[in-house]
Symmetry: C2
Subunit: 304 residues, 2 copies
């Protein structure tokens, strides 16, 4: 069974790793959101791509949910001493990724080429693709005006109230090489438990149409997110944050929906949207939870 998984950061990366531990590498392609990408300190930073790759390579810092394990902070702390911007905490190992990516981009390599070569260097066997080689930038419309995503997310700690989103450049952005081919070859597509508004929607904005059975795993459990602002965004947009809200958000694209036992009471309402459902443990606290959930999702797809 050939699978394409769509992923944002932390939650997406965890399920992506579970799938990578379960499927033969040639049967899994992970398409990653690049709407969070930005330029900072002269560097091209791709937070979701890096979280997915670091996680797949076993290099991720599982405590913070971003950056690398065993990190040191000598560069950023010295930038701070010089009066430079230090609100985006980049570790010394992490800086290498951004410096080398930026150098290669300036040399004319594409983000997808660079990602492929970084994956090779990090020993990642599955295919990881940015959604596009063209810049797409998530802009957050808020009560304080429009903010670039990282400005909203990291610098302002998601404090401004969200009113909507815009994916700057999405009309012109073509899917990265390999994205359409992977979707064409796929038996099914999985939306990892990532933010519907700012992780999955930007990818769908680029990919536009998916003509394969799609199953989404809810990033909202018991009205909350494990990490990230999805629940807060739903509330501020006037929608009760819930697995049901996620299912409704993606309903036109979905064939099946995976929700947590904690939300089992919503299963019937989700079925009434015309979706097949799987109720299981979707929390991935332990490393073993990742492949367990991946197996559950794959079995669910097999049963559709």
């Amino acid at each position: 069974m050939k699978i394409v998984a769509l992923a944002g950061g932390v939650g997406g990366a965890k399920l992506a790793q579970g799938l990578a531990q379960t499927l033969p590498p040639e049967d899994l392609t992970i398409i990653v959101n690049t709407g969070d990408d930005f330029e900072h300190l002269g560097l091209s930073i791709s937070p979701d791509l890096d979280t997915v790759c670091y996680t797949l390579a076993g290099l991720a810092n599982n405590e913070t949910g971003w950056g690398r394990a065993g990190e040191t902070w000598n560069t950023i702390s010295n930038i701070e001493k010089l009066g430079g911007p230090a609100w985006f905490r980049l570790g010394d190992q992490d800086f290498a990724t951004h410096l080398e990516r930026t150098r290669r981009l300036k040399e004319g390599q594409s983000l997808s080429q660079i990602t492929s070569e970084f994956c090779k260097a990090w020993g990642i066997q599955v295919t990881v693709l940015p959604m596009s080689d063209s810049p797409v930038r998530t802009m957050v419309d808020s009560d304080e005006g429009e903010l670039a995503f990282q400005e909203y997310f990291v610098h302002r700690h998601c404090e401004p109230r969200v009113k909507g989103f815009r994916f700057d450049g999405v009309e012109a952005a073509k899917p990265a090489p390999g994205v359409s081919e992977a979707l064409e070859a796929a038996d099914a597509v999985i939306f990892c438990p990532s933010n519907p508004w700012v992780s999955i929607d930007p990818i769908l904005g680029v990919v536009k149409e998916i003509n394969k059975p799609v199953v989404a795993v809810s990033p909202i459990i018991g009205g909350k997110t494990v990490k990230g602002p999805a629940a807060k965004m739903y509330s501020e947009l006037g929608i009760e944050p819930s697995a049901l809200a996620v299912a409704k958000h993606h309903r036109s694209t979905l064939k099946g929906f995976v929700l947590d036992h904690l939300d089992a009471s919503m299963e019937e309402q989700i079925r009434q949207l015309g979706l097949a459902t799987l109720v299981t443990n979707t929390l991935m606290n332990l490393p073993t939870d990742r492949s367990r959930l991946a197996n559950d999702v794959l079995n669910f797809i097999g049963s559709l």
Copy 2:
């Protein structure tokens, strides 16, 4: 007594520190070679400026003669793992200097402004000026063709045989703000024990004329340099490397010349060039040697 010191890297930085320990901060301006500056990994790197500033701030790595003390190497080793260029060894703390300088240059700040603000952040009280805010690039003519300075110096370990030098951009480069004013206000000028060909000459190429008494400290002791390729360059250019050769090189600009006891036999020949001489210990092995030599040189200037 107001002093302007011209300096390249290691040797220059040591005497500059000695002078800074001896003179009131308002009486010392250090003009630093920027002919070694280059762009690498997308960063604007100023090796001599950094060596001088790190040394003055007590942050320098005295063992290597470049970079910072207590350095870690997590960024460069990860760049290497990704297949990036790692021949120029930048430490994690050092990267902060280059990242923040590059960010500010892109924002439109000048190198001299940035240097001034970095000095403030590092607690340096004397004035440190780049020779120019415009790029001047030392090019080495060699038996392998023309090489950019760092390519010759670091990447190729000074292996190609030197045939000459060219300072790209020197005609158009104006002295940085403060350089001419400092020379105007100075009672005397000191050439620190730096490479005549690639540290002092590029500064003189920008400054053009010095109408003040100039004293040079020989960077060559017993036919050798403490650090750097000056002696090798002299040999390859067909000149016996010696204190005498340095005195001859700078003779038209000099009033006095400081040489080591080891070279005392050349004192008479140097006097015959029309220069006053001081024979003293010019090696600066110990930190206390720096202020001792500075005192010797200042007393020598006072006696002229």
